[in-house]
C-alpha cells in the first residue's frame, strides 16, 4: 500500500551512536566508576597476594575480580544509560516531529553502551598487565588448571559484558520506568537480586539455579581462614557448576533482549519483524539458560589448598 522509504536510517544511527557515545564517555558518574574500578583493581591485586618466600608473592582469586568492574562500571553505567535515554524526553515534542524515531534514539544510546564495554575490556587489560608483575599461584583455578575457554568466558562475561549489561539495562529502565529515581531503584534491585538469588544455591546440589541472576557467581574465592565452608576445604577455592561458555552467550542474549525491549517502547517500531526478533531472543535466552545450567562443569571444581608453598 505504501512505498518504502529510502534507507537513510542506518547512516543516521551511526551518527547518533557517535554523539551518544561521546556523551556517555564524558559523563562524570561513568568516569568516576571507571577510575574507582581501575584503582581498586590495582589495590586489591597487590593486597590479596599470597607470599610464598621472601621475594615471591603470588596473585590469587583471579576469577573473583570481575566483580570490581561489574559493580563500579556496570552499575554506574546503568544509571548513566538511563539518564541519557531519558534526557532527550524534555525535547520530545520537537524531536518527535523529526524523521528520526524514538526507536532510533533508543538504539543510539544502546550503541553507546559499547563505551562501558570498552571500559570493561580496559579493566581486563589492566588485570593482565598486573599479572606480568606478579604471577598467579600455581594452585589457582586459572589458565593451565582450567579449560581456557571457561576461564575466558568467566572473565569476559562477568567483566566487560557485565559492564555492557548494566548499561543496556539502564536503557531499558530509562524507556519503561518513568518515576523519579528509577535507575537507583534498579541498581538496588540488581544488587539485592544477585545476592539473594545466587548465594543460597551456590554451594548446593541446585547450584545450577543460580545462573539466572543478573550477575552469576562462578568462583568462591579462597577460604583464607583455614576452615572448611560449604564443602570447600580451608585455603581452597572452587569453581561452581554450569557452563561458563554458554553463560557468556546467555549474558549477551539478555543484552540483546533488553535492547529489543527498550525499542518496543516506541509504538511505531512494533512491527511484525520486531515481534519476531523479540520472541526469537526470548527463545534463545531460555535455550542458553538451560544449556548453561545443565551442561559444562557438572560438579564444583575445588582447588588444591592455597597456603604458602613449602620451601
Amino acid at each position: 500500500m505504501y512505498s518504502t522509504l529510502p534507507a537513510r536510517s542506518s547512516a543516521s544511527l551511526t551518527s547518533m551512536v557517535a554523539i551518544e557515545a561521546r556523551r556517555f564517555a564524558r559523563h562524570p558518574l561513568f568516569l568516576l566508576g571507571v577510575v574507582i574500578a581501575l584503582a581498586l583493581e590495582a589495590w586489591v591485586f597487590f593486597a590479596d597476594g599470597v607470599t610464598v618466600s621472601e621475594d615471591t608473592t603470588h596473585a590469587i582469586d583471579m576469577l573473583s575480580h570481575p566483580i570490581i568492574p561489574a559493580f563500579f562500571i556496570g552499575l554506574t553505567s546503568l544509571v548513566v544509560a538511563a539518564r541519557l535515554t531519558r534526557s532527550t524526553e524534555v525535547s520530545a515534542e520537537a524531536m518527535g516531529t523529526a524523521p528520526g524515531t524514538e526507536a532510533q534514539r533508543t538504539l543510539a544510546v544502546a550503541g553507546a553502551c559499547l563505551v562501558p564495554f570498552v571500559a570493561g575490556v580496559a579493566w581486563l587489560a589492566e588485570l593482565f598487565i598486573l599479572l606480568q608483575i606478579r604471577g598467579v599461584h600455581p594452585y589457582e583455578l586459572w589458565f593451565g588448571t582450567m579449560n581456557d575457554l571457561h576461564v575466558w568466558s568467566i572473565l569476559v562475561a562477568l567483566g566487560p559484558v557485565a559492564c555492557l549489561g548494566g548499561a543496556v539495562l539502564g536503557v531499558l529502565v530509562g524507556r519503561w520506568l518513568r518515576f523519579p529515581g528509577a535507575p537507583a531503584v534498579a541498581v538496588v534491585v540488581v544488587a539485592i537480586g544477585t545476592m539473594v538469588g545466587s548465594l543460597p544455591y551456590s554451594y548446593t546440589d541446585q547450584g545450577h539455579l543460580r545462573v539466572w541472576v543478573p550477575w552469576a557467581m562462578w568462583h568462591t574465592g579462597t577460604m583464607s581462614d583455614g576452615e572448611a565452608w560449604e564443602g570447600v576445604p580451608g585455603y581452597a577455592q572452587a569453581v561452581l557448576t554450569g557452563n561458563p561458555a554458554t553463560y557468556l552467550l546467555y549474558a549477551l542474549a539478555l543484552c540483546a533482549l533488553a535492547v529489543a525491549g527498550a525499542v518496543w517502547h516506541d509504538r511505531t517500531a512494533r512491527t511484525a519483524r520486531l515481534r519476531l526478533v523479540c520472541w526469537g531472543l526470548v527463545a534463545l535466552v531460555v535455550a542458553l539458560y538451560l544449556t548453561t545450567a545443565f551442561t559444562g562443569i557438572e560438579e564444583m571444581i575445588v582447588s588444591r589448598p592455597i597456603p604458602p608453598l613449602e620451601g
Binding site: R8, S15, I19, S87, T88, G100
Partner: protein, 286 residues
C-alpha cells in the same frame, strides 16, 4: 498549497479543542491569534504532525501524514517545529543539541551537518554561544536555540508556537528579519499573543476562538473590520468591548456605541482582534 486542512476536529476527553477547522496555506507567513484555550497550540500540533486530528482531512506538503509511516516521514523531512515549551538535555551544549537534532533530521554527513548547525546558529545570533551549555543560557537565548533547531535544513513548512516569548525587542526584530527571509520559499505558521509581531511580520492572519476560525484574511482586512469602531474619549465609556486609559491621559474605546464627544481613532490590529473576539475579550488576561 503546503497546508490544507478540511473540517478538522480534535478533542481531549470531553473538551473540543478544534471544531471543523478549514485552512489552506501557501508560502509566506501566517499569524495565528486567539485567546488562551482557543485551540492555537492544538492546531499547530496537528500541522506539525505532533498529534493526529480526530476527524477531517489533513494534507501537508501535498501528502497525507495519516497515510502511513512512510508518508509521515516524508512530510517530516521538510518540517520544522518549535513547540510552546521546549526543554533541553542538561548536559548538552548549544552546538551539541543542534547537531543531535540535525542527525534526527537526517543530516548524516558530518561536515555538511556541522556547516548547517553553524548556519542556523548564525541565523538566530547564537554563534558566540555555540560551546555553552544550554542550561547556562538566558531564557531568550534558549528560545532562540529552539528556533534554530526548527530552522535546520531550511524546512518548507515551519510551525512556531509563540516564538517571541522571552525575547527582548531587539531579538524580536532579529527574529522578524530571519523569518521574513525564510518565508520567501517556505510556509510559516506562527502563533503569538503579540499583535504587533503579526502586524509587522505576517501578510495573513487567522483568528481562532473556541476551536473555530473566526477570521482568515490579510492583516489589512482584519484592521479594516475595526474602522469606525475605535475612539479616543476624555473619560471611561461604559458598554465598550474594551476601554483603557492611554499614556496621554485619554481613554481608548474599542467597540460599543459611539461615545458622545469622542473623536474617531485609527484602528490597530489589536483593536480589530479585540472586536473580533467580542464581549469575551473583556475577560482576556492582560
Amino acid at each position: 498549497m503546503n497546508v490544507e486542512l478540511t473540517a478538522v476536529d480534535k478533542s481531549y476527553g470531553g473538551t473540543q479543542a478544534l471544531r471543523g477547522v478549514d485552512l489552506t496555506l501557501g508560502t509566506g507567513i501566517t499569524g495565528l491569534l486567539g485567546p488562551n484555550g482557543a485551540g492555537k497550540t492544538t492546531l499547530l500540533r496537528v500541522v506539525a504532525t505532533s498529534i493526529a486530528a480526530d476527524r477531517g482531512e489533513v494534507r501537508l506538503l501535498g501528502r497525507d501524514p495519516h497515510a502511513g509511516h512512510a508518508e509521515l516521514t516524508r512530510v517530516r523531512r521538510s518540517l520544522g517545529y518549535l513547540p510552546q515549551e521546549l526543554g533541553y538535555p542538561s548536559d548538552m551544549t548549544t552546538f551539541g543539541f543542534l547537531e543531535y537534532v540535525a542527525v534526527l533530521k537526517e543530516w548524516n554527513e558530518r561536515r555538511a551537518r556541522r556547516h548547517e548547525v553553524r548556519r542556523v546558529l548564525d541565523l538566530v545570533g547564537l554563534a558566540e554561544q555555540s560551546g555553552k551549555r544550554i542550561a547556562k543560557l538566558s531564557g531568550g537565548q534558549r528560545r532562540r536555540v529552539g528556533l534554530a533547531q526548527a530552522l535546520l535544513g531550511n524546512p518548507r513548512l515551519l510551525v512556531l508556537d509563540e516564538p517571541t516569548t522571552g525575547l527582548d525587542p531587539a531579538q524580536r526584530a532579529t527574529l522578524r528579519r530571519t523569518l521574513s527571509v525564510v518565508a520567501h520559499e517556505s510556509t510559516v505558521l506562527l502563533s503569538t499573543h503579540q499583535t504587533e509581531d503579526v502586524a509587522a511580520l505576517c501578510e495573513r492572519v487567522v483568528v481562532l476562538a473556541d476551536g473555530e476560525v473566526r477570521f482568515d484574511g490579510t492583516v489589512v482586512d482584519l484592521v479594516a473590520t475595526a474602522v469606525g469602531q475605535v475612539w479616543l474619549a476624555d473619560h471611561e465609556v461604559p458598554g465598550a468591548v474594551m476601554t483603557w486609559r492611554t499614556g496621554t491621559g485619554r481613554h481608548r474605546v474599542v467597540g460599543g456605541p459611539h461615545p458622545p464627544g469622542a473623536e474617531p481613532a485609527e484602528p490597530t490590529l489589536e483593536d480589530a482582534y479585540l472586536l473580533m473576539l467580542g464581549p469575551s475579550a473583556a475577560s482576556l488576561p492582560a
